[in-house]
Symmetry: C2
Subunit: 203 residues, 2 copies
């Protein structure tokens, strides 16, 4: 069987739902998927490493990437930029490997314009009460920031119709299992693989 | 979460590919899926039980079901009828359980007209050479019947574009795993479940 282009998997969802936690747990057992490291201007949280969790950049460095069309998508969120380097994604997909993006809801829409054939997964909190608890427990935000985030989260959930799948993040390991099933199924979709079987009659 | 209508899963593919073997192996570990027993006029093979593998009917009994619109689909194949009782499928789906149909390619097209929202899986042989081996090894057919079946199989594979997924039957257990991933993913599709989350803002 010829090597197909890799599958683009986009994991998004409201701020605070636990995208980073799910992504890290998922990647520990996903040898066939390459995580695309995002670029951000926000400051590293405790334990975050440059070039592993994010590429941490200054505002002026980030704006230079925008001007040079080096970003597949970018979003500004609570005074910081987040973006996805385009060359890395294209080259990895061309090599036949799947690529996972973990991005904000604003950015997912831009990626969809570029890659309509990707698998778009919306990570959903069990409830807004639970979402608020998670943001509060993170402990890095003031009350004003929390209220702001909750308002943004409600708007983000309204955009759910732009996604192919909804994965509830009730438990991290369950969310990872659901993502694995989605990726397996996407690789079996007839519109992706039928061309391998068009000549089976001549085998 | 409210109980949704069940998912209709249609397993089809060319004669001889091993649909029955895969279906039986799948159902051994699929408590949430109900297998819809087909009606047929063909004679039971060794070990097949009426009411378990098929409902075995005479030609006149089958034709009476056709006249009374009691069949979701039916197909005539090598002098025999195969069909799916419609009431059983509708009632099981309404109760919230998934239903698996294992049917011939001719029938799958009729079911799609009735249930466009189902998950349609085409079980594919690794090659036509392997398909012929499987038909020969079954040992119940004459050379003429085998040639006839191979001709039909080639035509059936041409209809692959009517399906959502292609599952290669290289190993029965692998084929079952792929089916399980497809069913999990289908239950996570946004267009099936977004209505559960439309009111999350008020939770």
């Amino acid at each position: 069987m010829n090597k197909d282009r890799g599958l683009l998997i986009v994991l998004s969802g409201p701020s605070g739902v636990g995208k980073g936690t799910v992504r890290k747990a998922f990647m520990q057992d996903a040898e066939e998927v390459q995580y695309s490291i995002s670029v951000t201007t926000r400051k590293p949280r405790e334990g975050e490493v440059d070039g592993v969790d994010y590429f941490f950049k200054s505002h002026s460095e980030f704006e230079e990437m925008i001007e040079n069309n080096k970003l597949l998508e970018y979003a500004q969120f609570v005074d910081n930029y987040y973006g996805t380097p385009v060359d890395y994604v294209e080259e990895t997909l061309d090599s036949g490997r799947d690529v996972l993006l973990e991005i904000e809801v604003q950015g997912a829409k831009q990626v969809r314009n570029h890659f309509p054939e990707g698998a778009y997964i919306f990570l959903m909190p069990p409830s807004l009460t639970e979402l608020r608890n998670r943001i509060v427990n993170r402990g890095t935000e003031t009350d004003d920031v929390i209220d702001n985030r909750m308002g943004v989260a409600k708007e983000e959930i309204e955009l759910i119709d732009q996604y192919d799948y909804i994965v509830e993040n009730d438990q991290v390991e369950l969310a990872c299992e659901r993502m694995r099933a989605i990726i397996t199924a996407e690789h079996l979709r007839r519109d992706r693989i039928a061309h391998h079987y068009k000549n089976v009659s001549e085998v």
